[in-house]
């Protein structure tokens, strides 16, 4: 009796082990298979390093900013949350807050009053990617810092790590703050408890479209490949004085500002 029970347990535990191993490894194999099904579209845009140059002189009226911000937030179903737990991908602030420790005395009135667009800098050395414990945020080969909303555990280490305040956390359910009748079905809405931020419109680039804000800015924002000496961004950078946010922290932002 004792022996047979022992034997039964042996067989049973081995079977469970075998089954679970098969399930586990099968999952890995299948994941690899599905990964290969994704193919870049033929007319997608590619770059060695995507970068953005914002001509801050060209933005004059609040409508200029609103056009870009609305285009972005609409394209990505960004909720409008009217409190400190807000979510924003693209927004504006004054010089002293955008470029702290770079401000000067007696600046021109125009510069002091000017608003500046803020977004994720898609850094060359992104601290958010460095600190993320699950690789939910990662850097693509083309320089875009992207996010996997389904892997994010919501620890917000990336928000502490980002020196630019580019990241937002969904403290509550973001869908409560989106007009579900108006959503863009091409881009997923997010769930509660994950971090999100600007993605340089990676989904539009894949389809051959420029980022939503670049399109809405009508020439006030330049976007292109930093590694291509013939690209528009390189020309604009060569011809204008530009600065980037917080150069001292060594992140090498991909967003440049013409002052």
């Amino acid at each position: 009796m004792k022996r047979s029970r022992r034997q039964f347990l042996k067989v049973a535990s081995l079977s469970v082990l075998g089954l679970s191993t098969q399930l586990a490894t099968g999952g890995i194999v299948n994941a690899a298979e599905t990964g290969e099904q994704y193919q870049a579209t033929e007319n997608g845009l590619h770059a060695g390093r995507w970068a953005m140059v914002i001509d801050t002189r060209a933005f004059e009226t609040p409508e200029d900013f609103a056009a870009c911000i609305n285009a972005c937030h609409k394209a990505h179903n960004v909720p409008h949350i009217p409190n400190k737990q807000e979510v924003k991908w693209l927004w504006t602030d004054k010089y002293e807050h955008v470029f702290p420790e770079q401000e000067n005395n007696h600046m021109s009135e125009a510069l002091e009053k000017r608003d500046f667009l803020l977004l994720c800098n898609h850094c060359e050395n992104p601290p958010c990617v460095r600190v993320c414990p699950t690789k939910a945020t990662y850097k693509r080969a083309d320089g875009i810092v992207a996010m996997d909303y389904h892997r994010c555990i919501g620890c917000r280490f990336c928000m502490a790590g980002c020196p630019y305040g580019a990241r937002s956390f969904n403290f509550g359910n973001p869908r409560d703050y989106i007009d579900m009748a108006e959503i863009n079905p091409e881009f997923p809405t997010r769930m509660r408890g994950v971090v999100e931020k600007c993605n340089f419109c990676v989904e539009r680039l894949a389809k051959g479209l420029m980022p939503a804000c670049v399109e809405a800015a009508e020439g006030k924002i330049f976007f292109g490949d930093l590694t291509d000496p013939e690209s528009e961004v390189r020309k604009v950078l060569a011809e204008n004085f530009t600065i980037r946010r917080k150069p001292a922290v060594g992140t090498q932002p991909g967003v440049y500002y013409i002052i």
Partner: protein, 387 residues
């Protein structure tokens, strides 16, 4: 040995029931957080870590502090500590469990927590933090349980336990160093970005942790026949005093660098914590000043031998020390790190009532675990005649 929990005095069970009520309250409040998310907390886009992470940080220190008993006992063969060690190890278990619960309470998607192991990311300090905390839990549980079991049977502990104990000594330093690295490697947070962070964490842990241990042991001494021994208490108090002096010294080093260099970003968090902003004191300002005064007061009460060895005064001195270090690390650290924010503007963070109730529940869990483990240790020691 677990059966010892089943035989206790009515007072013990009243205490357990009381803790159960606190845990229940916390768990009930957590249901709201499960339903509405972290929106029920006072955290915001600008202050994205708050009370939970602060308590986690403080408790890692409490967990690590067990080493202040183990190190003298095993590296210096200071036998007087041997009697207390088991209580330090068991307190560390409670503290690590609370750390883990605070992390879970802080996650936006707690059901995905195991992604940290499923997708191991060696460039993230949080990955290492999870590993070292789990390792420390296992080390303390195994060491504590095995040595107690041997004490019960009046046999020498197995040989393999010694290397584990040595490992746990180094491990204790590592858990709090790694926790400090969570903060001190962040480029945009002036208050965190300091090479001395790990040293500050360790010094504050090595005074606060043993103080909490002693305070709890004084309670045990009152309700049971256990006595940690006069000399052991005095030695541990000396260690506490040195650690607190170093802790205060390290903090003053921070203050000097921040203020004398005159670099605005370095000075802003300190001026926010101690002076508020735009001419208004923040709610934290009062706490910070009280904390600073209590820190100095605790030193004044602990440094002179006549006051330090006064057994009636000692519990007060230690309680003052614990409060001072808690304000520094359990409140000021996180708030100073996130205020002013990366735009050099101020977003005020105030923990909400649900946040505090959930935290209270987690503290209740820790107290329950420590109560049960200590009860086992006390009963085993009583039986073995080693009380």
């Amino acid at each position: 040995m677990i059966e010892k929990v089943l035989k206790g005095s009515p007072k013990f069970y009243v205490w357990i029931a009381f803790l159960g009520a606190i845990i229940g309250l916390g768990a009930f409040t957590y249901l709201f957080q499960m339903k509405y998310g972290l929106a029920i907390t006072g955290m915001s886009r600008d202050v994205s870590w708050g009370f939970y992470i602060a308590q986690f940080t403080y408790l890692v220190g409490v967990a690590a502090s067990a080493v202040m008993l183990v190190l003298p006992a095993y590296f210096h063969h200071y036998k007087k500590f041997k009697k207390m060690i088991i209580f330090g190890e068991f307190m560390a278990i409670g503290a690590v469990l609370m750390c883990m619960l605070f992390i879970m309470a802080d996650l936006g998607q707690p059901q995905r927590a195991l992604n940290v192991m499923l997708h191991p990311t060696p460039n993230s300090v949080m990955f290492y933090d999870m590993m070292v905390l789990m390792g420390y839990l296992v080390l303390n549980a195994v060491i504590g349980w095995v040595t107690l079991e041997c004490e019960r049977h009046d046999v020498a502990p197995p040989k393999w336990i010694k290397p584990m104990i040595y490992l746990s000594i180094i491990w204790a330093f590592s858990i709090h160093t790694v926790t400090a690295f969570l903060y001190s490697g962040l480029p945009g947070r002036h208050y965190f970005l300091t090479a001395i962070m790990a040293a500050r964490f360790l010094s504050s842990a090595f005074c606060a942790g043993p103080s909490i241990l002693l305070l709890l042991l004084f309670v045990v001494r009152k309700v049971t026949d256990f006595n940690p021994g006069k000399e052991a208490v005095q030695t541990l108090t000396k260690i506490i005093t040195y650690a607190m002096a170093i802790n205060v010294f390290f903090f003053l080093l921070e203050v000097f660098t921040a203020l004398y260099s005159g670099i605005p970003g370095h000075a802003h968090p300190l001026s926010y914590l101690f002076a508020g902003h735009d001419g208004h004191a923040a709610w934290i300002t009062g706490f910070m000043w009280v904390g600073a005064i209590l820190a100095l007061l605790s030193l004044a009460l602990l440094i002179p031998p006549s006051l330090r060895d006064n057994e009636n005064l000692l519990p007060w001195s230690l309680a003052i020390l614990v409060l001072a270090t808690w304000i520094d690390k359990g409140l000021g650290l996180i708030i100073g790190g996130f205020t002013p924010n990366v735009f050099e503007t101020v977003t005020v963070y105030t923990p909400t009532v649900p946040e505090l109730l959930i935290s209270l529940g987690i503290f209740g869990v820790g107290a329950l675990v420590v109560s049960i483990l200590w009860k086992i240790a006390l009963d085993v020691k009583k039986e073995a005649g080693t009380l």
